[in-house]
Point group: C2
Chain length 477, copies 2
């Protein structure tokens, strides 16, 4: 029976891209929308997003952020105000020029991100130092017309949160930019069980309009890097372009300092590629739509259905997300389906289990089988959720650490990348070296790390000097 | 001090429209977006929407609905498939015809509602009776280009939930359509403290593409009606247009039966106009962003700040949403501001209160002042939330019942409407009568009620017969 499903999913080792596509479609996380590059997020996929939202939203609110909602339609003239920003985003915007049956006097764009419209409102709302800091977030859809698309990873429309904060001083806004980066890293660790590297992005990889961009990069099982979140420090670029000034305590008008930061439905792609295996999804308990599936075995036998129902109820009463699968299919078929769907814990209830006062259980992450006493099942299952969550992180961390290597020169770098690993390089920050990584190896500088250089010269050009930094170089999604 | 704020808000009795605008802007619920007819939902307004979402979403899930997300961009050709539907919505859609720097081969529209794109996916997903019922909901933004707009009530872009269900039989989909109508009514009652009339809409007021539309209508304080939610039964209209068939148990292919239903950010407008008063907002505890505001009085005096903080903490520990207002403003200024913002309960902590072991409290709905013992404050406040919620509903219900009158003929109808009341009419369902209500009184048939006619002839034309129904006729938003 196991074979039946496995053969439907491409081999994870030899065709990771097809494996990914098979998994997202067959587990009904997504489907393709009728407009090129769009995706339908189906209930099983959307439930993961809801869990991500709930967990992240609580952390954003706990750190003093408030939610708001800004219009999706932005006048072209507003987009044009910050020169670098418009240059970065104009090529991929969707433009509305007919509405209500008439051609619009001024075309409007569907937001690719909301700095411009939010700054135009901030300019109106902020007058005094008393109005600062202002730390808003919005959960919204955005549209960016992409040439090459893949579900969750790169789609014409995606869902995300975008935070936009305003501060009286540079120090404060830099601190916000960095503390949000750390918040994302902790969220990825605690909730997605996904270790990440965080650090500053290179000039080339900066967000259009930012002074500095920081990124969180996660290693996927194929050794490629996924940019899983970014935070940007704008300095006063946007406040000057959109005229956001405040009257400070010293009675002078000053331009504000700003940050923005976001994560998107791309995180779901990250989850899949960080934890999956040949059988399909492996979901961390904190985001799994179903944490425990209860499957009656020989359900027609005396007592089985009743006990299965009692078990499901007691698990639910402990706050677990539980599915009791009473469908008219064989237990083996169900085992395979729920394994493919990545449910952390399977609980089988059969006549012999009941006789022995136990349930036969199986952990998705380890595929380990064991029995648990029925009379204490809910408590054990709750503890198992924590254990699975932690073990999944430990496993991912061990995998990642085994796949990061030091590249002392370009030959080593090429070998490391071909071995499907991340390379740590020493880099003198010369864009020419960055271009060489790309040209020779199709790899990019993912982030610069806050680490002392492990040699005294650039891995690429061999130059020495004060400007050396350690960076992660990898192939990326 | 009270006067200072009141004078900023137009008179609720003589200029209700300006009162509404003043309240939504001054309490910072919304602001106007740069594109005509769009609104920015500010944190205080968005927090109300989040409370509405949480309460309604729980009810939708408890009744077996799952959330999903469908793309916002819909190919023009998909919209065109159901003739009545496209006729209804085409005049107000926003059209994207340039994206990624190129003119699109086929223009796409920004969803005004999602029947068309959802049906195109259902056609693909549904094959067997085992796939039914399918009951999905999505929380999303939609765009409808409106000529005349007002914050929350009618905006070019708004936020809503739209449910789209699929059933094997007509009976089931009719029952879904009606049970969602009742769910909305109960939600409006329990959460928004807003009594409503529910019933079928006239042919003229039907949703484009529906067989029957049902509505929930709420009376605003100016005697006008607000359509606060609708549910639609599609029969097989969409399943035939989009080819959604299933193989039934009897091995024949059949078209499915469908419903859809939605409520939007318009509900916030309803809340404001159902409960507000001259001082501003009056918010039901279940949706109030701040349920209790704690205001230290003479905060510089010994112990005041500490006790105020303890009180705020103990209220929060009981699960209440609490604001401790320590800003550098006078207590009177704060009282006015929080009254304008509609916070259900104000708790003042001053030196004399502490001496007496009490807090001075004030209910926003009744403006009643009283003291409560400090050592039991959290429990009392929690109980008060329930009491305020219930009293607000009772007050709204009494107001509504006092403003619904029987119109036996057209003269009476005119008088009732001019008295800012709803009229119950007997109607023979002739569109000519409906047109007469509109032409003579600028009023419309809001819903038909499930009530026996109170006279044996139509209020408008005097005709008798079997087709008589009781309907609510009112001026409407």
């Amino acid at each position: 029976m196991a074979q039946q499903f496995v053969t439907q999913i491409a081999d994870i080792n030899t065709d990771f891209a097809q494996w990914y596509t098979d998994v997202v479609i067959k587990t009904q996380l997504v489907d393709y929308g009728p407009v090129k590059g769009t995706m339908v997020i189906r209930p099983y996929g959307y439930a993961i997003w809801e869990n991500i939202q709930r967990e992240l939203d609580a952390r954003l609110k706990a750190t003093g952020h408030q939610n708001a909602y800004f219009p999706m339609l932005i006048p072209m003239s507003l987009l044009n105000k910050e020169a670098e920003h418009v240059e970065g985003f104009a090529p991929e915007v969707a433009v509305v020029d007919i509405a209500g049956g008439e051609r619009l006097a001024e075309p409007v764009v569907v937001r690719p991100t909301s700095e411009t419209i939010i700054c135009s409102m901030y300019s109106k709302w902020i007058n005094s130092y008393r109005d600062l800091p202002l730390k808003l977030n919005q959960w919204a859809n955005v549209v960016r017309w992409e040439k090459t698309t893949r579900p969750f990873l790169r789609t014409s429309e995606f869902l995300w949160q975008e935070g936009h904060t305003v501060h009286a001083t540079r120090e404060e806004s830099v601190e916000e930019t960095l503390s949000m980066l750390r918040l994302y890293r902790d969220f990825a660790k605690d909730v997605l069980a996904m270790p990440t590297f965080i650090g500053q992005k290179s000039e080339k990889e900066k967000f259009a309009g930012a002074e500095e961009t920081y990124g969180m990069e996660a290693m996927m099982l194929d050794g490629k890097s996924l940019q899983a979140g970014t935070t940007h420090h704008f300095g006063q670029k946007f406040s000057r372009a959109y005229d956001i000034q405040f009257l400070d305590k010293d009675s002078t008008h000053k331009y504000v300092w700003q940050s923005s930061w976001g994560v998107s439905t791309r995180l779901i792609g990250g989850l899949i590629m960080a934890h999956g295996d040949q059988r399909g999804l492996v979901l961390p308990p904190k985001v799994a739509p179903v944490q425990v599936v209860v499957i009656p075995v020989a359900a027609h036998k005396q007592g089985v259905s009743d006990v299965a129902e009692q078990v499901a109820r007691s698990l639910r009463e402990c706050g677990l997300r539980v599915e009791l699968d009473t469908r008219d299919q064989s237990p083996g078929w169900k085992f395979n389906e729920w394994e493919m769907k990545g449910v952390p814990l399977r609980v089988e209830i059969g006549p012999r289990d009941i006789e022995n006062g136990v349930a036969t259980c199986s952990r998705r992450d380890t595929l380990q089988k064991f029995t648990l006493p029925l009379d204490d099942l809910a408590r054990s299952a709750t503890q198992l959720m924590d254990a699975i969550q932690q073990d999944m992180y430990a496993k991912s961390l061990a995998f990642r650490d085994a796949h990061v290597k030091y590249a002392h020169n370009m030959d080593e770098l090429g070998q490391i990348l071909d071995d499907k690993c991340f390379a740590k390089v020493v880099w003198d920050r010369d864009p020419a070296c960055e271009a060489a990584f790309k040209e020779r190896f199709q790899a990019t500088v993912r982030v610069m790390l806050d680490e002392a250089p492990f040699q005294d010269s650039c891995t690429c050009c061999g130059h020495k000097g004060d400007n050396l930094t350690v960076a992660i170089v990898a192939r990326a999604y």
